[in-house]
């Protein structure tokens, strides 16, 4: 029986020539388009190239089991990989339960460090931490004033040493100050600096060495282009950081630099900063950023289509009903609707290993589907769940109600009974065969 099924399966595959598996040929156009999309989203060109190449190599040969095209499937795989790569388990800040936790915030000029420090202070204050903000940017005019104003707005003390020209001393003193005043979290706002400015990079390294922060966060503007890899790598080499903060995501930047940075430094994105209000800070959701990088157009709708169609929950419920032999007309209707969503019934069923042969006596002609729907919809709730009560008078009522003939109704009930029998048969063997291999995750 297995050989017979395999043969059938192969035949169907041939019918849809070249579309049954992912091949170089049937995904190359899509991959070229995805490359363009990634570049437009400011993913570094080398990262984009390598990423696509890696995904391609791994994905080639993958069976295309659903109604989606190879292009759509590879897009979905790209989306999933993108989500995986940017996601991470350790996105939580490391906060010491006792003693002082020190968080150092670093980055280029204008990336949004000071605003982020204010937001982080509020976020941690809301989590019942006793926060101190340290103004260690002694270069930018009024940077200290800005932090002090932010501190006042959220009622968090700000540590500064007026006239002090040594940022290391300010940072170190602020920690002693926190200890003396019963504060358990210190956020150090450092000056913005260019990664090629040796003097400034030495300064930040020296602050880190002296205060040994528990968390060092690298703040990056989500609008950053190709250069993100250079600055991130340079900062990481000099001052190994623990996490990334993406700012200004309330604009329309696609944030491809996040992928670039993840590629050169394997550190998690810990926060998303979305505006100028002090509570506009979020923990990171990789799937949202993946959608954003891939854009709002066709690509995401492909992905959404694939996901919608692969409705896991629905399938799981049906599978359970199949297994427990509780499959009724309501489920039949649901299944028909689900399958209809996925495209041509026959080709689809044929692609389910085991289903083709098992369903050979069940006529599921596409043209019949709307008729079947009408018939089932004309049944009462009770009739749908207990098909056994469908006697002659009920059947003729259903035929009238659905605008079909009594023969149509009889045929459907016969098919349904056959299907139930088949389900029972499968259950005694392996129900997994039917649904375990179905392209529903």
């Amino acid at each position: 029986m297995l050989d017979e099924l395999t043969e059938k399966f192969e035949r169907v595959l041939k019918k849809v020539t070249g579309q049954g598996r992912l091949t170089e040929a049937n995904i190359s156009d899509t991959l070229r388009e995805i490359r363009r999309v990634l570049l437009d989203a400011d993913v570094n060109y080398k990262v984009a190239k390598q990423f696509i190449e890696d995904v391609k190599i791994k994905a080639l040969g993958t069976e295309v089991l659903t109604s989606v095209t190879p292009g759509q499937l590879i897009t979905k795989i790209i989306y999933d990989e993108l989500t995986n790569l940017m996601g991470s388990k350790n996105t939580e800040l490391l906060l010491n339960p006792s003693g002082v936790t020190v968080i150092m915030v670093i980055g280029l000029q204008g990336s949004g460090k000071t605003t982020f420090c204010g937001k982080l202070a509020k976020y941690l204050t809301d989590k019942k931490r006793k926060v101190l903000l340290t103004a260690a940017d002694i270069y930018r005019p009024a940077a200290i004033e800005q932090l002090k104003l932010l501190g006042r707005q959220i009622n968090v003390p700000v540590f500064e040493l007026t006239g002090e020209k040594n940022a290391v001393k300010i940072a170190a003193d602020s920690i002693s100050f926190a200890k003396e005043n019963g504060l358990n979290t210190v956020i150090i706002d450092t000056a913005g600096r260019l990664h090629i400015d040796e003097f400034m990079m030495n300064e930040v390294a020296s602050i880190k060495e002296n205060v040994k922060p528990d968390e060092t966060l690298f703040v990056v503007d989500s609008m950053t282009g190709q250069d993100a890899v250079n600055s991130a790598r340079a900062f990481h080499e000099k001052v190994e950081f623990d996490g990334i903060v993406l700012t200004k995501l309330d604009g329309d930047a696609r944030g491809g630099c996040a992928l670039s940075i993840r590629a050169v430094v394997e550190r998690p994105i810990k926060f998303i900063s979305l505006g100028e209000k002090l509570d506009s800070i979020e923990v990171f959701h990789p799937e949202r950023l993946a959608s954003r990088i891939l854009g709002k157009g066709d690509i995401v709708s492909f992905v959404e289509k694939a996901q919608r169609e692969l409705d896991e929950k629905e399938a799981a419920i049906l599978e359970k009903k199949f297994r427990t032999n509780q499959f009724d007309f309501d489920d039949f209707l649901k299944q028909i609707k689900m399958i209809k969503k996925m495209g041509s019934l026959k080709s689809l069923l044929a692609m389910i290993p085991g289903a083709n042969a098992a369903l050979k006596n069940v006529n599921v002609d596409d043209k019949q589907v709307s008729k079947v729907e009408a018939i089932i919809q004309s049944m009462t709730k009770e009739e749908r769940s207990k098909p056994k009560i469908l006697n002659g008078s009920r059947r003729s009522r259903i035929a009238r109600g659905s605008g079909t003939t009594i023969q149509d109704v009889n045929r459907l009930i016969k098919q349904f009974n056959e299907m139930q029998k088949m389900v029972k048969m499968l259950n005694t063997k392996s129900a997994k065969n039917l649904f375990g291999n179905m392209p529903i995750r």
Binding site: D40, Q109, G110, Q146, T224, Q226, D227, G251, A253, R262
Partner: protein
Amino acid sequence: MSILKSISFTKIKDGLSKTREKLIGKINEAITGKAKIDLETLNEIEEILLSSDIGLDTVEIIIDKVKTSLKNENSRSEETVKKVIKSELSKILEAANTKIDQMSLSKFKPYVILIIGVNGAGKTTSIGKLAYNFRSEGYKVIIGSADTFRAAANDQLEIWARKAGVEIIQGKTGADPSSIVYNAIKTAIDQNYDIVLLDTAGRLHTKINLMQELKKMHTTINKLLPYAPNDVFIVLDATTGQNAIYQVNEFKKYSTPTGLIINKLDGTAKGGVIFQICRENKIPIRYIGVGEEIDDLQVFNPNEFVNALFE
């Protein structure tokens, strides 16, 4: 769908950890000893241009032109390829820069310059530098500090004004920026100033209410001086990627940009996105910012900019 196991980034990392070579070196590598430009070489050139944030659309146009030009060239040496690329890039910038009227500064008094841009692009720093430049040339300059939103923006600009030795008009945090615009221009008219520099709050181009506020500032300026503002400079951060295109397009809807200032060109970012901006909008680049000192603002020179891409 967990079809694939997680992909290691090691390969990508290795590729990137090589010291970033200069463009000429790369083209040297790509071309030297090769009789003709093959597809591989052109792909390499494409990548080199992409790494400067030039953007795929513009890169494709340039490469197309390079291919065409090379067909007519007997020589396909490194020199020729370089020359063709540079000339195409310069053409784009020069076409936009023909619009600059160097004499207009003396035609209007006061001459009003409005500075706009997204957060963190370097507007306030640019104002300080511009004020210093104009002051050094002997103009009587006044600054209007219309960024009433950001904490301590006033203080920051005041420090710059003091360094530049110019006057400044400020308002309270949270005040209507248009009221400060009004005061600054009124003062300039009454007290015979030559140039008014108006700083505005950083606004993401997607924030409609902030963009409306910008429009309102225009109306206020117009009421006092129907010819003003004479210049509206959009300040761009050179590290910004393709989003700069959207920034300019949006600002154009609410304001009348006459020029661009590109900041932070002292880093490793090349600011290549301006090629598409210039190509599409014909907005000239006026100044570039190359550091944090008050004299680190230079007049833009298209050829120098293009040459810097190749250094």
